[in-house]
């Protein structure tokens, strides 16, 4: 019963993320989705990743969104989507139905067998994944500094553009095309 409530609440929050007109509201609904998914993960018997999901999804990402739309500012929201709604609903329902058809029969929880602890699995068996994550974070930071640090470069480029466009333009040199022998005509004499 609790599971049903959680699931329905998560789906409704997700819908509100898409539908709400203001970006701040969307970010808050997203935090709500994160929290509910985190509880579901805990109920699945995965407490470690539930904690990660909660702190990252409901914490970090929400802060990021707030930062982002503080810089960007609000924009007038147009409700009309570019693709006709029936098509969207058709594709979505069809995809979900097919996937459900595929996965529902297979979903069943056996009793939990003994297995190595999360720490052992993460650090020893999937150690390479951890390295990949470190590389990902590193490249993310580099990308971020490159993207946001480019603002100064942008302003310098704009200044340079203005000085260049004020110079007079010289006409390009004329191209000379070589002469080729015309195709031999097959005219009957």
């Amino acid at each position: 019963m609790l599971d049903w409530l959680l699931v329905i609440a998560a789906i409704l929050c997700a819908l509100q993320v898409v539908r709400s007109p203001r970006l701040l509201s969307s970010a808050l609904w997203l935090a709500g989705v994160s929290a509910l998914v985190s509880i579901l993960l805990y109920r699945l018997g995965a407490p470690e990743v539930a904690v990660i999901e909660l702190s990252v999804g409901a914490g970090l990402v929400t802060v990021l969104f707030v930062f982002a739309f503080n810089i960007v500012g609000e924009e007038g929201q147009t409700a009309a989507s570019l693709i006709p709604r029936p098509l969207i609903w058709g594709l979505v329902l069809l995809a979900a139905a097919l996937l459900g058809w595929y996965t529902l029969p297979v979903a069943s929880f056996p009793d939990r067998a003994a297995e190595p602890s999360f720490a052992v699995v993460l650090w020893e068996q999937r150690g390479l994944d951890v390295l990949v994550q470190v590389a990902l974070i590193f490249s993310g930071v580099m990308g971020l500094t490159g993207l946001l640090g480019g603002v100064h470069q942008l302003r310098k480029d704009q200044a340079l553009q203005e000085t260049v466009s004020s110079l007079p333009e010289s006409p390009p040199p004329p191209l000379s095309t070589p002469e080729y022998e015309p195709a031999i005509e097959e005219v009957q004499v």
Binding site: V72, T103, F118
Partner: protein, 106 residues
């Protein structure tokens, strides 16, 4: 059908499918670039849920958890870069609307 409604596995699969469906709907319907990043986040949550579900169904919860943790890190980096790109797009092109962006030249 009763079994479906009460079996926790099925409920969670339906939940995952629901999030996936909302995510797809958002992908196709959203016009604001920053909201698009939020929709991607929803999709990733569905994926995380699916991973842990699969782990539980095959008896290897901790493996599912490790993979899910990796996915969460990756999706956070995606969110960061996506938002930084959105900020830059707003600065250079003046708009975040997808329709206007696809008509811009240069």
């Amino acid at each position: 059908m009763n079994a479906l409604l009460s079996d926790p596995a099925s409920i969670l699969v339906i939940g995952m499918l629901g999030l996936l469906g909302v995510g797809f709907y958002g992908l196709l319907a959203v016009r604001n670039l920053i909201k698009m990043v939020a929709v991607l986040q929803i999709l990733i949550k569905a994926a995380v849920l699916a991973l842990v579900l699969a782990g539980r169904a095959s008896g290897q919860v901790n493996l599912g958890q490790s993979l899910a943790a990796t996915v969460i890190v990756a999706d956070t980096v995606v969110a960061v870069i996506g938002l930084a790109l959105a900020v830059q797009v707003r600065r250079r092109c003046g708009t975040l609307d997808l329709k206007k962006l696809s008509q811009l030249r240069g």
